[in-house]
């Protein structure tokens, strides 16, 4: 009697194991999918493996769109995208932790030399000051901006707004956006220690869109109707103004590799420069370099 029962139990066990094995087999076999024809993406068809991207947060929407297209064509490829900021991107690609490190500033000569970096600038971008759409202040002089960010001006009424305290938002030291803004808008002046910190361009935009008395700076590509751009010395941060060189807080968007890129990494970067890739760049609010 006991034997029969134990047999039944072991059959149930066997069934469980088979189910698990089947699922695992499906997981493995299922990953071999079929591709679709798509011109510039053809070259990705025989690639596989993991491509890791990290760094500049302004780049993320473009990276995500490109990655989506590639992974749709070939599910064998896994592309991972992390933020962290330009400093992180440069450091991580230099250390070999990722294959592509993005930066919203040009890597310094020292960095290029130390890590043998190759940089690829695939877009032009500006860094615009933004406030909440309900805020009527839409124009600030450079001097006012410097005073606001250093904390010297701490009420909107001093710059023609309501009688409310100014909430300054800034990015951390690893941010290329911060670096460019600090250099070109603040003349490397101090940023108030009272400033709230946010971790990315996306986070800056959503923070300002929620705070009626906030002020911050963000990649021009990220500006949309949820926030209001502020003219800097009378010039609005728009694509045209950046393109024509009227808006001075501008920068390139770079993807950096350690040494000459090859394989999947090279194909990814090449794709950014194809007409299709540049279209993605433009549709995300950046300026094509072509």
């Amino acid at each position: 009697m006991s034997e029969r029962i134990s047999k039944r139990v072991s059959i149930i066990k066997m069934k469980k194991i088979t189910t698990v094995l089947l699922i695992m087999a499906c997981l493995i076999l299922g990953s071999a999918g079929e591709g679709v024809q798509a011109g510039a993406l053809d070259s990705f068809k025989d690639e596989k493996g993991v491509l890791k991207i990290a760094g500049g947060t302004a780049h993320i929407p473009v990276m995500q769109e490109v990655a989506k297209r590639i992974m749709e064509i070939n599910p064998e490829i896994q592309i991972t995208i992390a933020g962290g900021g330009s400093g992180v991107g440069i450091k991580q690609v230099g250390e070999g932790l990722v294959q592509i490190g993005n930066s919203g500033r040009k890597p310094t000569d020292e960095e290029i030399q130390k890590y043998n970096l190759k940089m690829f600038q695939w877009a032009l971008d500006g860094v615009g000051i933004i406030v909440h759409p309900d805020n009527k202040v839409r124009n600030l002089t450079k001097a006012q901006v410097i005073d606001i960010f250093s904390g010297k001006i701490d009420n909107w009424k001093l710059v023609g707004g309501p009688d409310k305290g100014i909430n300054v938002y800034t990015r951390d030291e690893a941010s290329g956006t911060r670096e460019v803004f600090w250099e070109k808008a603040l003349d490397k002046g101090a940023i108030s220690p009272k400033a709230n910190f946010v971790a990315s361009n996306g986070a800056m935009k959503s923070a300002i869109s929620k705070d009626p008395y906030g002020i911050g700076y963000v990649s021009v590509g990220h500006i949309d109707e949820t926030v209001a751009p502020v003219a800097f010395d009378g010039v609005l941060p728009t694509l045209d103004n950046v393109k024509q060189g009227k808006y001075t807080i501008s920068r390139g968007l770079y993807s950096n590799t350690k040494g000459e890129p090859s394989g999947l990494t090279k194909k990814f970067i090449d794709y950014l420069f194809t007409p299709e890739g540049q279209k993605i760049v433009e549709s995300n609010g950046f300026i094509s370099i072509k």
Binding site: A54, G85, V88, K91, Q92, G165, Y169, E173, N196, F197
Partner: protein, 287 residues
């Protein structure tokens, strides 16, 4: 039939124990090893704790973060303690048949709510309210973080409090009742004095949770590096400092500072454990 020799079996169970202990010590070792350059440069670990943060002038002290951590944690205790005490009185002393049990169930379920969800709801529900009510600052401040943290740590306290109340011998209460004490008197003069160590231990453990939590402060406290002057000021905790800086240049001193934060948190945790164990074990000894 498994036939492991006794001695071998003991070794087999001992090995993972040693591994677990090695991990515990190893965590501190790593903090120390990687934070060492900054400590040497700062001259002294204690210096680092007292210095302010000014990377521009070469100061990488974590004093503002320590103040941030301590003020957010203690404020959350201020909110959570009376609330939790009240709830545990309702559960174990008033002992309302329906609501008491319901409350206990809710509290048990609360322990399962992920921190990130408190943070998420805090960002969209609490922060705008705080900003509107006080008309000052961005709403991301010590107050917002503490309020949400208070909700997070309440279950820990309530479960610990009710447990210590329930462990007070029934006969004590009966003795008081026989002398004509009311429920409230029984609680105040018998239960609470007997259970105070448990209450204190629960407070310490909840404080530990509040100090160690990352997400709520990261999402709700604004993360400004300053010594906060009021509960409506933005502040950065030791934990969020780690979360914000960890991806920076590994060789920079800024990056090393997060190991000083890690070490401080580790030491704080050890202190709390020592305190809680001291209280708890003496408690058991008395019984």
């Amino acid at each position: 039939m498994i036939n492991i020799p006794e001695k071998a079996a003991e070794k087999l169970f001992l090995l993972p124990t040693v591994i677990s202990i090695a991990i515990t010590i190893g965590i501190f070792g790593f903090m120390l090893l990687l934070g060492l350059p900054l400590i040497i440069r700062g001259g002294h670990f204690l210096n680092l704790l007292a210095q302010s943060w000014a990377p521009g002038s070469g100061l990488y002290g974590i004093y503002p973060m320590i103040v941030g951590s301590l003020s957010i944690a203690s404020l959350s205790l201020v909110f959570a303690f009376p609330l939790s005490l009240g709830c545990s009185v309702l559960i174990s002393v008033v002992g309302h048949e329906v609501f008491g049990r319901f409350l206990r169930g809710v509290v048990q379920l609360m322990t399962g709510i992920p921190t990130v969800i408190y943070g998420f709801v805090g960002v969209f529900l609490l922060v705008p309210r705080i900003r509107e009510i006080f008309q000052r600052g961005s709403g991301m401040c010590i107050l917002s973080a503490s309020l949400m943290l208070a909700v997070l740590i309440s279950p820990t306290m309530i479960l610990f409090f009710t447990d210590s109340f329930d462990h007070v011998p029934k006969s004590y209460g009966q003795a008081a009742e026989a002398l004509g004490a009311s429920k409230g008197q029984k609680f105040l003069y018998v239960t609470l004095p007997c259970a105070w160590r448990g209450v204190l231990t629960g407070l310490i453990l909840a404080g530990g949770r509040a100090l160690g939590d990352t997400l709520i402060a990261l999402m709700l406290a604004g993360n400004a590096i300053q010594i906060p002057g009021s509960v409506l000021d933005s502040a950065r905790t030791l934990t969020s400092h780690i979360a914000l800086v960890f991806a920076a240049d590994y060789e920079s001193l800024e990056f090393k500072s997060i190991f000083a934060c890690g070490m401080s948190l580790y030491l704080l945790a050890t202190l709390l454990v020592l305190g809680a164990r001291g209280l708890w074990h003496r408690n058991e000894g008395e019984k």
